[in-house]
């Protein structure tokens, strides 16, 4: 196997591992926060339904965490196995957040173990709630630190390259690079949003499929409300990300928007197809790209013509960008309608159709996460370290990457199917009505 093939298979394997990992990782970052909110509401309102909600979420969470942990271990090690030249160079500058990520992960792991095995152990439920704080903090901070590493790859700084030697290294400057604030905020907030909508889609599904229990209605209202807050936050941060790109990675923005010539009053291109360099069937929103890039409708936006041809990312990232933004905006609309509808007692938000839309919202949010990551990663091609190291110079020289690709593909299929089977069985066997009855029988109706 030649080096070109090693590069190709290394890219494929990394993409496959990350695409699989982020499904579980995103849920892993967001769900602890949702559990915390449910438990807090339960204690405050003295309502056993919310406590049970927290407990049942926690039980499902363990399964997703397990897959998140093992695939996270895989990608952590694959970085060195598949991209040894990159890690050798970048390790000098960016090891600090990578190292801190393991601490956050460690912290979360310890308290998750304690939290899961101390239900009913404390007289005071508030003590049990306190255990969730380090779990949620640890989960969110691992996302923060690992995203810092990725931000560095997009905007490397904190060192000087003199005759191929790294000098004047500043680990903190490397961490607080220009890409970091928007990236970190976007990743964390979309994880919260996605988790909320995934849980909402489960509640909506239960309501559609027979159960009309108040428990599911409370779950749906809570998750949609939290989802709305984070969906709005996502949109705002998305706008900041656009401004970041315009300033620091204009080639990514230009490729995403099929913006070929540098010009002012730039329109935003929505959808459409690219045919021989011609954009067809697209919706153009006048001035919107200038606003997105510079908060000024007449501002000049750099076009792809400004960049050398071998430094332009693939143009298909436009579709990924559109997909992500469309789903994000639909989710803002859907959750806002639901929340308003509940407040103003509109009947249609409880209709079958609307509930089916909510059911779709969970998977759609996960697709948006995938599309967003693909967009972000493919958008910095051909670089692994933007402006510094090209992807083909970073990959391993080993000739066995293709076999590893098939082995890991098999692993992810097994894990994906396994986790779905276990999760469905877990909740089908023990529906909430049954669990409430059991708990009442056990404690004579007094749970808190």
């Amino acid at each position: 196997m030649g080096n070109e093939e090693s590069v190709f298979f290394s890219r494929l394997l990394t993409e496959m591992t990350l695409s699989f990992h982020i499904i579980y990782a995103t849920i892993g970052v967001g769900i602890p926060l949702m559990i915390m909110i449910a438990q807090w509401v339960g204690i405050k309102k003295n309502d056993e339904h919310y406590i049970l909600l927290a407990r049942r979420w926690a039980r499902g969470f363990v399964i997703t965490v397990a897959v998140g942990v093992v695939t996270g271990t895989a990608i952590g090690m694959q970085l060195s196995l598949l991209w040894p030249n990159f890690m050798e160079l970048a390790g000098n500058i960016i090891a600090l957040p990578l190292f801190m990520e393991t601490f956050a992960f460690f912290f979360e792991a310890i308290f998750l173990g304690i939290y899961l095995y101390t239900w009913d152990r404390f007289e005071n439920q508030k003590k049990h709630l306190l255990l969730l704080i380090p779990v949620a903090v640890g989960a969110s901070f691992s996302a923060v630190f690992i995203t810092i590493v990725n931000a560095f790859m997009n905007a490397p700084q904190g060192f000087d390259l003199v005759d191929g030697e790294l000098v004047n290294i500043s680990p903190l400057l490397a961490m607080f690079n220009p890409a970091m604030p928007t990236k970190v905020a976007h990743v964390v907030v979309t994880a919260y949003m996605t988790s909320a909508f995934v849980l909402a889609s489960i509640a909506a599904f239960r309501l559609l499929k027979g159960s009309n229990h108040i428990y599911h209605k409370k779950a749906l209202y809570l998750t949609m409300k939290v989802g709305l807050v984070f969906a709005i936050a996502t949109a705002i941060i998305g706008d900041f990300s656009g401004k970041y790109l315009a300033e620091y990675q204009p080639e990514k923005l230009a490729a995403a928007e099929w913006h070929f010539e540098t010009e002012g009053n730039a329109p935003l291109v929505l959808y459409g197809v690219l045919d021989d360099g011609e954009v067809k069937y697209a919706i153009k929103i006048p001035f919107a790209l200038s606003i997105l890039a510079h908060a000024d409708p007449t501002a000049e936006v750099l076009g792809l013509e400004e960049f050398p041809e071998d430094e332009i990312p693939p143009l298909y990232i436009h579709y990924l960008f559109d997909l992500m933004v469309t789903i994000g905006m639909s989710m803002v609309t859907l959750s806002a309608l639901y929340w308003l509808g509940k407040r103003l007692k509109w009947a249609f938000v409880d209709s079958k159709l609307f509930r089916w839309l909510i059911v779709l919202g969970g998977p759609a949010s996960i697709i948006a996460i995938e599309a967003g990551w693909w967009f972000a990663e493919v958008g910095r091609q051909p670089w692994i370290l933007r402006g510094l190291m090209r992807v083909e110079d970073a990959a391993t020289t080993s000739g066995d990457v293709d076999i590893m690709l098939y082995l890991f593909a098999g692993l992810y299929i097994v894990l994906g199917i396994g986790s779905i089977v276990v999760l469905t069985r877990m909740f089908k066997k023990n529906p909430v009505e049954q669990e409430l009855k059991d708990r009442h029988a056990e404690k004579g109706g007094d749970i808190l």
Binding site: M77, W83, N92, F99, F106, T397, V401, V422
Partner: protein, 341 residues
């Protein structure tokens, strides 16, 4: 003490931590499967599950910590070990992934699949075997460097007696460490039957462990004389380690003070592990890579050490809390309360 030495000591300590907690974990899986095969599952499964469930994720972190840390302190290791270990490390990763996730699936999801428990036990033995190849490779002689591209010489690796001696040592010490720990844990829980069974296993596995450990010394005398001579210089450390081994076996044999037996075992492995590592210095990969030429820049090293100290300040109290609640809590260990989600 130089920054390089601090760095490698930190990492070596974490590797030692992983060695102990992972051995308990891997060995427990094997004993569980074995007891299933011999119809003694009733005796062991409860004890094993009660210990493993709250800590399985923590075990995994020790491992992540080590490999992230070594790239941080010694970025050049990514180039040599990363390039050459693609196959053995990927296999270990896949086994770890199946094992870890299916542990959670079984424990929290649905219980009692026999074939799976069996696979789980066997996988636990393959992982240390795959991971221990790193130790073998670090002794030198298994890597060819052509045009700046290192690659692993599989023929040399699989035909070397050193490789197999290290594999056997990793397997038998996994079973030995695990058996001694579970003897103690079962005894704390007041479960006589499990204690006696584990005690028997501990005594059985003690001897292959010590014999292969001595065998490796002999192998090294011809394979890597420099390392061997360094080890001879600190022969007394291995002597103390051996005395602690005798102490553990004696206590197990006399059926008393299993807690002390486990601590002595910890001391035995700690001293031997550090003496072995110290004698290996300054090489990370003989003869290509020393801790000095692969060390990161000073700014990063200091940042990492500061992060490490801050991290420990957070971790040690948390780990202590975990142990207090699950390892040294009689109510929990005896299974009087099952409070899981």
């Amino acid at each position: 003490m130089t920054l390089e030495i601090i760095g490698i000591t930190v990492l070596w300590t974490f590797l030692f931590g992983y060695l102990i907690v992972a051995s308990i974990d891997f060995g427990a899986g094997f004993f569980n499967a074995y007891s299933l095969l011999t119809g003694r599952q009733r005796i062991l499964t409860n004890i094993i599950q009660r210990y493993l469930s709250p800590v399985w994720e923590v075990t995994n972190v020790f491992f992540v910590f080590f490999f992230v840390g070594i790239i941080g302190f010694f970025p050049k290791t990514a180039f040599y070990y990363g390039t050459t270990l693609l196959v053995p490390a990927s296999i270990a990763l896949i086994l770890l992934a199946i094992r870890g996730s299916y542990y959670a699936f079984e424990t929290y999801g649905s219980r009692g699949h026999k074939g799976y428990s069996f696979m789980y036990g066997i996988a636990g033995l393959f992982i240390p075997a795959a991971l221990s190849t790193v130790l073998t490779i670090s002794e030198g002689g298994f890597i060819n460097v052509v045009n700046d591209a290192p690659s692993l010489d599989y023929d040399a690796l699989f035909s070397s007696p050193l490789t197999w001696a290290i594999v056997v040592l990793s397997l038998s010490s996994v079973l030995y460490i695990s058996a001694v720990f579970l003897t103690w844990y079962a005894n704390t829980s007041g479960d006589r039957e499990a204690t006696n069974l584990m005690r028997k296993y501990a005594l059985i596995w003690a001897f292959p462990t010590i014999i292969t450990a001595i065998g490796i010394m002999v192998e090294l005398s011809s394979h890597n004389p420099e390392h061997y001579n360094n080890m001879l210089d600190i022969w007394w450390a291995f002597g103390i380690s051996f005395l602690l081994f005798i102490g553990t076996v004696w206590l197990l044999f006399k059926k008393k003070n299993y807690g002390m037996a486990f601590w002595m075992l910890g001391g035995q492995f700690l001293i031997a592990f550090f003496a072995y590592g110290f004698a290996h210095l300054p090489y990370l990969l003989y003869p290509y890579l020393t801790i000095y030429d692969s060390f990161t820049n000073e700014a990063m090293a200091i940042a990492l050490i500061v992060a490490f100290i801050a991290g420990l300040a957070l971790l040690i109290p948390s780990l202590y809390l975990l142990l207090r609640l699950f390892l040294f809590n009689k109510d929990y260990v005896r299974g009087n309360k099952d409070n899981h989600a």
